[in-house]
């Protein structure tokens, strides 16, 4: 069976309906578990209790980027293979990505207050996230403004494509423009000071939770979009008759 067949709305509704309970259960367990576990971790010797923020901040930041990549893939599938559900999935994912970006920004800003002594700094990492938020907002606004769905799907697809290139370009431009004070990736192995296990495992759990939460939400929202499309289709047909 080909993966493309999932794009058939009926099949998608059936399959997603079967997956959904598991996704929801997993999302609830892992998100709540990871976040609560994270909240209960002991204080860091340098950052004090603020280290607990990492269990929201990092998963949200990670998802914020990954969701855009998923939208790009879905848009490409729509533009190339014309699978209607993938266009709707991209539409459904955008608000989730925007909220993730917002969470990363908000937790980061709140964290920055005690750590850097400022709510906001035009650090490249932070600035790139702000720009990512702008791209999300533009994408969402375009979907909302175009009345004809077929056009909206195509236009947002093209915008997502061009936007991805420019989001990347902006990232380099911003790096060129200002040097940062944000920490590097401390999860990666090559960095000397690897995050200790007490923080690492709840972080993994919370990351998995955010991932599952995204899966569950994107399924629900895609199902919503499919139902709206079906409703609109029925009404359009009624009117044409």
């Amino acid at each position: 069976m080909s993966i493309w067949e999932y794009a058939n709305p009926v099949k998608f509704m059936r399959t997603s309906g079967a997956i959904l309970p598991f996704a929801v259960a997993g999302a609830v367990v892992c998100t709540v578990g990871g976040v609560v576990w994270g909240f209960l971790t002991p204080d860091d010797f340098r950052q004090g209790s603020t280290v607990k923020i990492v269990f929201l901040h990092v998963p949200a930041a990670m998802m914020a980027i990954n969701i855009w990549v998923m939208m790009l893939v879905a848009s490409l599938i729509w533009l190339i293979r014309r699978h209607h559900v993938s266009a709707l999935a991209a539409k459904a994912a955008a608000p989730i990505g925007a909220v993730m970006t917002l969470i990363a920004l908000a937790t980061g800003a709140i964290w920055g207050q005690p750590m850097w002594g400022t709510w906001w700094e035009w650090d490249p990492r932070l600035t790139s996230f702000l720009i990512l938020l702008l791209f999300y907002l533009g994408y969402i606004a375009l979907w909302a403004s175009v009345e004809d769905v077929d056009s909206a799907a195509d236009l947002t697809g093209v915008l997502c494509l061009v936007g991805s290139v420019f989001a990347l370009l902006s990232r380099y431009a911003v790096l060129f423009w200002n040097q940062g004070l944000h920490q590097g990736a401390s999860l990666s192995v090559q960095s000397g000071e690897r995050m200790s296990a007490i923080y690492r495992y709840p972080l993994y759990l919370s990351m998995l939770g955010f991932l599952l939460l995204f899966v569950a939400l994107v399924l629900i929202r895609t199902r919503t979009e499919i139902r709206r499309r079906r409703l609109a289709a029925l009404q359009a047909r009624e009117m044409r008759a």
């Binding site: 800003a109 400022t118 709510w119 906001w120 700094e121 035009w122 600035t127 702000l130 720009i131 938020l133 702008l134 907002l137 533009g138 606004a141 909302a144 403004s145 423009w177 200002n178």
Partner: protein, 218 residues
């Protein structure tokens, strides 16, 4: 009157992004400024009040054409003009709706964007106060500009040119209010002027706007 207000607000929320677009544009402007002028606090802090006011003003400006243009296109404006509402009241209500959908969100978001531009904490309340007093004048003057350009194609740039000069006094006193409040703690003079301008504009401009609208309707 109330019915018109609720209708306009409902339309703004239904038609996708009525509330959000202005704030989003404001956010973009505040993001772009540091790219232009540099990111260090010392560069941003002194210009922050001005930039925030300019951003609010431009966001307001770009949404002006919606005040009458849509109602003109679909014929509602004709019907409103023959309804038992004085056209002056209609203008005032529409400006109010514009202020609620554009001005209020901007004011609510301004402190947040103030953070981005390193506006000092003690200036925040003054930023909000100055916007709260000043933006109604922006919406009302904008309604006047929109009434003048309502029938024209590509009113956009022309509308900006007509309206921006009218915005200058408000802008000056608005930023001056913040600056003086932070510098000396006594913003009375600009505050009085700002409030005076807004009061005068809100009281008188509806008549001018309604007159312009009548000309464009006939």
């Amino acid at each position: 009157m109330l019915a018109l207000l609720t209708r306009d607000l409902r339309l703004a929320t239904r038609a996708g992004g009525g509330f959000g677009l202005g704030v989003a544009f404001f956010l973009i402007l505040c993001t772009l400024v540091p790219f232009g002028v540099g990111a260090d606090t010392s560069a941003l802090r002194p210009i922050a009040p001005g930039i925030l006011w300019l951003g609010a003003l431009l966001a307001c400006l770009l949404s002006l054409d919606r005040i009458f243009a849509l109602d003109h296109e679909d014929g509602s404006l004709d019907l409103l003009a023959t309804a038992p509402l004085p056209l002056e009241g209609t203008v005032a209500i529409k400006a109010l709706a514009h202020w609620i959908t554009t001005g209020l969100p901007l004011i609510a978001a301004a402190p947040l964007f103030g953070l981005l531009l390193h506006l000092p904490a003690e200036a925040m309340p003054w930023l909000v106060i100055s916007l709260l007093i000043g933006t109604p004048a922006l919406s009302m003057l904008g309604a006047f500009g929109a009434a003048i350009t309502v029938g024209l194609r590509r009113g956009g740039l022309l509308l900006s040119l007509l309206v921006l000069p009218l915005y200058i006094p408000t802008l000056i006193f608005g930023t001056e209010l913040i600056r003086r409040a932070v510098a000396s703690g006594d913003p009375t003079t600009p505050l009085v002027f700002l409030a005076g301008i807004t009061a005068g504009v809100v009281a008188l401009i509806p008549f001018a706007a309604a007159a312009a609208l009548r000309v464009n309707l006939r």
